[in-house]
Amino acid sequence: MHRIDQRFVELRRAGRKALCVYLCVGDPSLEASGFLALEAIDAGADLLELGVPFSDPTADGPTLARAAQRAIAAGATLERVLDVASRVRARSEVPLVLFTYYNPVLVVGEAKVARLARAAGVDALLVVDLPPEEAAPLRDACAAEGLGVVPLVSPTSHAARIEAIRRASTPLDGAPRAFVYSISMTGVTGASPSDLAAAARDAEGMRRAFDRPVLVGFGIDSGASAKLAAGEVSGGADGVVVGTALARRIEQAASGDEQRRAVRTFVGELRRALDLPD
């Protein structure tokens, strides 16, 4: 079984919610991101999303847009993010998702990106501005390397749309099932949390529709909101994704040591909240 699918089986068996941590790789530096990733894993992250910074991140709010600008200034590119992935992989078996906008993938080349991602130990790609209708070439390239492509659903995805996404994102032979990313609200990353309890209920419906694990992201900024978005232990979502709230703490930390402490503290807080009984 693929590493990422294995992780969801283990979590389900243990009755635990998945904690997926997003890092904008290269913020504050490529080297630091490697350390911060390991710190997040030590503190209880079940999966990591390694973000490729992009010059025009239209799905991101100001915090992650600033992180991307710092990362680009620090020399981060898709290929260097994959170098960081391989360093993390050398130390951990945590599933790694390469999170990116489409232009870097298109310019580097889909087949090459899939090949390099596999070599770096990445398990799946999530391309935020690539709806399933446009994703066939990337899905093929990724499946050829045993990688998944994570579909996104949004509060605006009506029933017919969800069915279209489901059909267009059915895992291909050789690719992991991975998970479905359920966006909790209409908005950019880092916006104020909306009704996260409703998002958890929606995620449960989504899991039935897709027959795959569902993670809820956007607007989760504390242990309490993580718990709310994950929903009941027996239902709700399979887990949550946290990005902006962590990037903000990294941004506000005054030194490398403080950044590592901030990651450890915050990821630990999220972990403990998710592991609380109902």
Binding site: F54, S55, D56, P57, T58, A59, G61, A65, I72, T77, L78, E79, Y101, Y102, N103, P104, V105, L106, V107, V108, V128, D129, L130, P131, E133, E134, A136, L152, V153, S154, P155, T156, S157, H158, R161, I165, I183, T186, G187, V188, A191
Partner: protein, 400 residues
């Protein structure tokens, strides 16, 4: 298999999932509402009685002789006068059409991005006319260099939101408008100003702007002949696609787009996407994009805020690759010189965007005349007037 809204390999819909249903809804309205006699009737009455359409063709004899003193390159020079539209540019054709559509769709709030401010002014105007609240995103740099249009938008009741990120120009304004739209998608209509962006915008904008070409073609035929060449400036490319569309099937007519070469094509300060870009995805469409080897978008440069954009409409990308249209470029100083030349020869102060088309006109006419063995009949899309650019032109010395 390619999804909806492709022009050859270009176009498509590369957006966050949240926006896909909104684009589907817009595409349904485009297909179901736009063609109805009631909608077309209302739009055309407004274009006639409010915008002042049809716009005339002006023959520019003095300018033709200044560009071509011996008369062996230019037989006739005709200008399609979109500067005479209400608000001073072709942008109003699109803004009125889209906002009527927004109203039919039951949307209660309008947002737009703007570079030079012409689309912002057009959208603010249409919003005022139709009684809709309007917010316009504009790069902070563009707000400085197009201050008169900022004042106009505010007078028209629009809120102008300065965008401080990136190059503080059109690209960044579009990023911010997309962020607003993804947040307020259920109530808000995003009025895209160029024939760019995700499907259905390139098709929608082209269908609203092709009135330029339809009128110009009919006027040319009334005068006796089709032109040999049609010339228009290209940023995102809405005035160009609007005039090209009507002539695309006329195989005798050459189509020329003129991009902004900024400080020069061989510098890193230009906006010549079709000449120097590579295939990428920007703002929802696969098209030519100015970006580096890692896929990071490069900040464009042009003296003209309306052309200062590192992408281009996907239909132009196809016209380039099929060879149906030819894309050339003009530098900042060539455009500034051309603006002065047109003003002195014809008494028309053109927008700096439009000035790029005039700057390349001589070379294009000579090329056409050589290929045809006779002087060419030239048609230029005079896309907008230049009042907004007076500060820039004067600072350059164009007022001398």
């Amino acid at each position: 298999m390619l999804g909806a809204g492709y022009f050859g390999p270009f176009g498509g819909r590369f957006v966050a999932e949240t926006l896909v249903p909104a684009l589907e809804e817009l595409d349904r309205a485009r297909q179901d509402v736009l063609p109805t006699p009631a909608f077309q009737g209302e739009l055309h009455e407004l274009l006639r009685s409010y915008v002042g359409r049809p716009t005339p063709l002006t023959e520019a004899k003095r300018l033709a002789r200044r560009i071509d003193p011996d008369g062996d390159a230019i037989a006739e020079l005709l200008l399609k006068r979109e500067d005479l539209c209400h608000t001073g540019a072709h942008k109003i054709n699109n803004a009125l059409g889209q906002l009527l559509l927004a109203k039919a769709m039951g949307k209660t709030r309008i947002i737009a991005e703007t570079g030079a401010g012409q689309h912002g002014v057009a959208t603010a105007t249409a919003a005022a006319l139709l009684g809709l609240p309007c917010e316009v995103y504009q790069g902070a740099l563009d707000m400085e260099r197009q201050a008169p249009n900022v004042a106009r938008m505010r007078l028209l009741g629009a809120r102008v939101v300065p965008v401080e990120s990136g190059s503080r120009t059109l690209k960044d304004a579009m990023n911010e408008a997309l962020r607003d739209w993804v947040t307020n998608v259920r109530t808000t209509y995003y009025c895209v100003g160029s024939a760019a962006g995700p499907h259905p915008y390139p098709t929608l904008v082209a269908s609203l702007q092709r009135i330029i070409g339809d009128e110009a073609r009919a006027s040319c035929l009334d005068r006796g002949a089709l032109p040999d060449a049609v010339v228009a400036c290209v940023g995102g490319g809405s005035n160009a696609i609007g005039i090209f569309k009507a002539f695309e099937g006329d195989t005798s007519v050459s189509l020329y787009g003129v991009e902004a070469a900024g400080l020069g094509l061989d510098t890193d300060k230009h906006a010549a996407t079709l000449s120097r870009g590579r295939v990428g995805v920007l703002h929802g469409a696969k098209t030519y994009v100015l970006c580096d080897d890692a896929g990071q978008v490069i900040e464009a440069h042009s003296v003209s805020a309306g052309l200062d954009y590192p992408g281009v409409g996907p239909e132009h990308a196809r016209l380039r690759d099929t060879g149906r249209a030819t894309y050339v470029s003009a530098t900042d100083t060539e455009a500034l010189d051309a603006a002065r030349e047109v003003a002195r020869a014809e008494g028309i102060v053109v927008a700096l965007e439009t000035a790029h088309a005039f700057a390349a006109l001589g070379a294009i006419a000579r090329r056409e005349a050589e290929a045809r063995g006779r002087p060419a009949r030239m048609l230029v899309c005079l896309s907008g007037r230049g009042d907004k650019d007076l500060d820039t032109i004067t600072a350059y010395g164009g007022g001398k």
